[in-house]
């Protein structure tokens, strides 16, 4: 099956890629949007003093 990879997707905040699979007649059989990144804020802010949390989670997205 023919495949079109868009890697990376651009002009937005964050990382992403799109895989498009084409059927024999050229129509789109399926497409997958993938987010290839994780940093784990959900874990590493656990137990942190509450006044420090905004100073850390503001680095989830700086855009």
């Amino acid at each position: 099956m023919k495949r079109i990879s868009i890697d990376p997707i651009t002009r937005l905040e964050g990382h992403g890629k799109i895989e498009i699979f084409l059927a024999d007649d050229g129509s789109v059989a399926n497409a997958y949007f993938q987010v290839p990144e994780l940093r784990g804020f959900e874990k590493f802010v656990e137990g942190m003093p509450i006044e420090e949390v905004p100073r850390v989670v503001s680095r989830i997205c700086g855009v």
Binding site: M1, R3, I6, D7, P8, T10, R11, L12, E13, G14, H15, E19, F21, A29, N30, Y32, Q34, V35, P36, E37, L38, R39, G40, E42, K43, F44, E46, G47, M48, P49, I50, E51, E52, R55, V56, R59, I60, C61, G62, V63
Partner: protein, 318 residues
């Protein structure tokens, strides 16, 4: 003279470094006049294959932001090293690991369990976790391998210069751009876009002799706006942090958390913080020492907020 070729890339990053570059405002036009952007995912539509197709050393300068957290970050670090004459670790994450480096206090399994299982907003009864390769009916699709350990850029490839800060200030970015454009970069391996002093040397708050008899938190006590945070008992990383940011946090009413990394001559910022705090604690009895130490809020993540990967401990023992 041919125009310079510039690239800017984010690995495990938040995009704040890219926005800080844009925060030079109208001077971005001067950058555009002096240099062609050949790769910059936040702002231009070049793909990884475009970079792969370049001859080696084709890019004059790459500003690399973000930590190395997964196999894609590592691949891009090697690729951009190969394609760049000068590779700059730009911002705290590339410089010393940054906020993503806090994940080194946990294992990959602990992070996955929390993110994809336990977090209150997650519904995942089948307990699906990310897989580097998945076979779908149409074919195989892949995502990068999530590493156990976050690394700074120089733990993966050779780095020519370091620009500290989370993010670097636009004023310092402009200084760095001018040095690049005018061919005035110093010796390789240098920290640029910062000062050679500490935050305390540049902080305008009134300082006397430091004698700490207890620690306070800004959540529960009001700091005096004109006096040194540390003297008031609020933990501040100023004594062990490189200057150059114009003490923007202290001027905003919050203590320094160390994003500009260790000052010249200091190997481990967190260890130096421990040593600096120990030397100003004022206590006569051992019990008082213990009480004061116990009052330090979250010491591990406060002393090493931005630099766990570059510290001597590097990560939690696996």
């Amino acid at each position: 003279m041919a125009k310079l070729k510039l690239a800017s890339y984010w690995a495990a990053a938040c995009g704040g470094c890219d926005v800080a570059i844009l925060d030079v405002h109208e001077k971005i036009l001067d950058i555009a006049a002096a240099a062609d952007i050949v790769f910059w995912p936040i702002a231009t539509d070049f793909k990884y294959r475009d970079v792969e197709a370049m001859p080696d050393a084709n890019i004059d300068v790459t500003l690399f932001h973000g930590a190395v957290r997964n196999s894609e970050n590592e691949h891009l670090a090697h690729l951009l090293r190969e394609k760049s004459k000068v590779l700059v670790a730009f911002g705290s994450c590339a410089h010393i690991g940054g906020i993503p480096g806090l994940a080194n206090l946990f294992t990959r399994e602990e992070i996955f369990k929390r993110v994809y299982g336990e977090s209150p907003s997650t519904v995942n009864p089948e307990k699906v976790e990310p897989q580097a390769k998945v076979t779908m009916p149409e074919g195989e699709i892949t995502i990068p391998e999530f590493y156990d350990t976050v690394k700074s850029l120089n733990q993966v490839v050779e780095v020519d210069y370091y620009v500290p800060g989370c993010p670097p200030t636009p004023k310092q970015i402009w200084n760095v751009v001018q040095a690049i454009v005018n061919g005035q970069l110093p010796a390789k391996g240098t920290v640029i876009g910062a000062s050679e002093k500490t935050q305390c040397d540049e902080c305008q708050r009134k300082k006397q002799e430091k004698k700490i008899t207890g620690f306070k938190r800004i959540a529960t006590a009001q700091p005096d706006p004109d006096t040194c945070f540390l003297e008031q008992g609020f933990l501040c990383m100023g004594p062990v942090t490189r200057g150059g940011c114009d003490t923007r946090c202290q001027l905003s009413g919050v203590p320094c958390r160390g994003c500009y990394g260790p000052p010249p001559g200091v190997l481990d910022q967190g260890a130096k913080a421990l040593s600096a705090i120990a030397s100003v604690i004022e206590a006569k009895e051992e019990a008082d020492v213990q009480r004061i130490i116990d009052e330090i809020p979250d010491p591990l993540r406060s002393f090493n907020r931005f630099g766990i990967p570059a510290s001597l401990i590097k990560r939690k023992v696996l």
